[in-house]
């Protein structure tokens, strides 16, 4: 039977425990969590402990006994703590310090006071075995929780060490030499198991950490994909809602467009008659042509506004002036309001109110709320909608208040939830989309009743800091 010099074994184990944690540390440089630091630190400390034991006789006794054993105890505590951190059940640092103090006090008492080496060794081995058993149990828990075979291998390696330690304890009780450096099958097994544990433990830990980082990356990629998917879906729903709104408004938008066309046609026909009969002078003709040009621009602005609103565009982030949004949307619904005899009063602040966001999506909120308000007041005799933009407490606040009957309590509780609607032909998506958009802009859409009875919808958005509005 080959016998290895047990002192050499300890030195080899020590070197392994100095090298492998360093290698693990370097490999895991990308993910330096506290758990990794504790694990590698514990490994290095184990190396120091075994090194000091291996050098026993060549260095002062207190170093090779007290410091070495304390180092091994603390090292195992640290590794256990590392795994506990991963399981989110860490020990308190104070208790660990107390445990280390108690260990070294008992150890020294046994070494100096009782002069009973057997008892001391039994104490050290049993404490160590207990700690390693705990470590193995933690590794098994992690292995089960994360379906990690690496963690299970760590547990197996430590179980082997525990078996070796128990064997050694039995042989001590059976009366074999109490010298830790004495050679025998028990010490041989212990040395062998320690080498194996050093290698398997570290590779296992590196494997575990790499498994984790890979899983994290996969999870993150999946979450990104999900977020992107729901974002794109949200965009499409929002766009579909805009199209639907404009579809419902098509009659009034047609009328709106008809106005400048009427002016253009009449002006053109007057000009023609004037030229035919030679009764118009140059000034009068120029005036008519100017009017035709102006009304053409007016018509093209209306078309532009509609097209902007339904054009599929990726969501933008830019400086948006809320007053401008309100003006544009008010123009868009002007004809619908007119045909329902609803007066829209907007109070816009003198200084502009800038927010960051997507101009079309913000317009969509205003359009949805404004159209709801117009529909609500069309049922009563006093038909007024008040739109108000202001700054309040570092927030941009847009409120739309109507003179309608307000929301019934059961409606108010459900308003803004998807597919809830009070309209016979409604789909119940407008307010819910508006709310989502507001939240995506870091804001909030509040739906309630005003003090004087009508519905009051408020959109609060983070105000863009002064001076940054020029930079999109």
């Amino acid at each position: 039977m080959i016998t290895i010099d047990i002192r050499t074994t300890y030195i080899i184990v020590a070197l392994l425990y100095l090298i492998l944690p360093t290698v693990a540390w370097i490999v895991l440089a990308g993910q330096q969590s506290r758990a990794v630091v504790l694990w590698c630190g514990g490994g290095l400390l184990t190396g120091v402990g075994f090194g000091l034991i291996g050098l026993r006789g060549n260095i002062p006794d207190w170093v090779s006994y007290a410091v070495a054993n304390l180092a091994l105890f603390v090292a195992t505590l640290l590794r256990a703590q590392s795994l506990r951190l991963d399981l989110a059940v860490p020990w308190r640092a104070r208790w660990m310090a107390l445990a280390a103090l108690a260990f070294i006090v008992i150890f020294e008492c046994l070494r100096h006071g009782r002069q009973d080496e057997l008892l001391r060794l039994q104490f050290v081995f049993s404490v160590w075995a207990a700690l390693l058993l705990h470590l193995a149990a933690l590794a098994v828990r992690i292995g089960r929780a994360e379906h990690s075979r690496s963690a299970l291998w760590i547990a197996r390696a430590y179980l082997l060490v525990i078996l070796a330690v128990l064997y050694r304890m039995f042989s001590l009780l059976a009366g074999r030499g109490s010298n830790i450096l004495a050679s025998g099958p028990d010490t041989q097994l212990l040395g062998f198991s320690l080498v194996l544990a050093a290698v398997v433990g570290h590779f296992g830990y590196v494997g575990l950490a790499l498994d984790r980082s890979m899983r994290r990356e996969i999870d993150a990629a999946a979450a990104r994909a999900r977020a992107e998917e729901s974002h794109r879906l949200g965009e499409r729903i929002a766009q579909w809602d805009r199209r639907r709104s404009l579809g419902e408004m098509s009659a009034s938008l047609g009328h709106e467009l008809n106005q400048p066309l009427t002016a253009i046609l009449t002006n053109a026909q007057v000009a023609r008659r004037g030229i035919q009969t030679g009764r118009f002078d140059k000034e009068q003709l120029l005036e008519l042509i100017d009017k035709i040009a102006q009304n053409t621009q007016r018509a093209s602005r209306i078309i532009e506004r509609i097209r902007d609103f339904i054009r599929p565009m990726p969501v933008r982030r830019e400086s948006v002036e809320l007053g401008h949004v309100v003006r544009e949307v008010a123009e868009l619904v002007a004809d619908e309001a007119k045909s329902r005899k609803v007066a829209i009063y907007s109070v816009l602040p003198e200084c502009r109110v800038w927010v960051s966001g997507d101009p079309i999506q913000l317009s969509q909120i205003v359009l949805n709320v404004l159209r709801n308000a117009i529909e609500a007041v069309a049922l009563v005799s006093r038909r007024e909608v008040h739109v108000d933009v202001r700054r309040q407490d570092e927030r941009a606040l847009l409120s739309i208040r109507d003179s309608g009957l307000g929301l019934a309590p059961e409606v108010m509780a459900k308003a803004g939830t998807p597919f809830f609607t009070t309209k016979p032909e409604g789909l119940g998506v407008g307010l819910s989309i508006s709310r989502t958009i507001a939240e995506q802009h870091g804001g909030k859409l509040t739906i309630g009743n005003a003090e004087d009875g009508g519905a009051l919808v408020e959109l609060a958005l983070p105000l863009l800091p002064v001076g940054t509005e020029a930079v999109p």
Binding site: A251, S252, G254, H255, N258, Q259, P260, L261, T262, A263, I264, L265, T266, N267, Q269, V270, R273, G274, R279, L288, K291, Q294, N295, R298, D335, K338, S339, K341, A343
Partner: protein
């Protein structure tokens, strides 16, 4: 017309009075551009044109009862306006027995058109309106206005003439209009035949009737 008659003094006023005599068109639309374009066209065609941005503004002007030059008049009004729309204006004007109404609208409302005609609008014009179509409608509306004015003038005249009749003359004329012979009238009213002849002649003269048929028509129109 409810407006009182105005007299032309200056040369400009005389020109304007001439335009009014051709026809006065009241245009109501809440769109300033359309108002201005229509006013230019009507002005070019030699009509007097008044523009109002809303129906209430026109009703206000009517209630001020400013004197205006004689001539036919019609109202051209947009259907869809904020405070009071064309259809409502039509109902109010109908109560006033006013100038004929032309309504204009975007192509949107077949329903609007139906209710407009039911309520007595003369024409319903779809925007954008072709100038020829518009002017034809205006000519037609002004002709209707003129006819209505003449009819009312005749009625006024007739009422005045009726008022000039004495009690006996009125009684004789009423019976004569119903085709009774002088003799029958004399018996019915229990007066001398000569007196009947005298009253009858005077009544014919006062009412401007040349024959019994004439007298019958006048009695019918004037409610004798």
């Amino acid at each position: 017309m409810t407006e009182s008659v105005r007299r032309a003094v200056t040369a400009d006023e005389r020109k304007f009075a001439q335009r009014c005599a051709r026809g006065r068109v009241v245009v109501i639309d809440d769109d300033a551009e359309i108002l201005s374009a229509l006013a230019t066209l009507l002005d070019f065609e030699g009509y007097a044109c008044e523009t109002y941005p809303s129906a209430p503004a026109y009703l206000q002007a009517l209630s001020d009862d400013r004197p205006c030059f004689p001539g036919p008049c019609c109202v051209l009004c947009d259907v869809k306006m904020p405070e009071l729309d064309g259809l409502e204006l039509q109902q109010r004007l109908a109560a006033l027995e006013h100038a004929p109404l032309l309504l204009m609208s975007g192509a949107s409302g077949a329903l609007e058109a139906v209710s407009a005609f039911r309520a007595g609008a003369l024409d319903f014009l779809i925007k954008p309106i072709d100038a020829d179509v518009l002017l034809q409608a205006v000519v037609k509306a002004l002709a209707v206005s003129l006819e209505r004015q003449r009819a009312r003038g005749r009625r006024h005249d007739l009422v005045a003439r009726m008022a000039a009749l004495t009690g006996k003359e009125r009684a004789v004329a009423r019976l004569a209009a119903r085709g009774r012979l002088n003799r029958e009238i004399a018996v019915e009213l229990d007066i001398a035949l000569r007196t009947v002849k005298l009253h009858r002649q005077r009544a014919m003269e006062k009412l401007g009737a040349n024959s019994v048929v004439d007298l019958a028509r006048i009695a019918d129109e004037g409610g004798l």
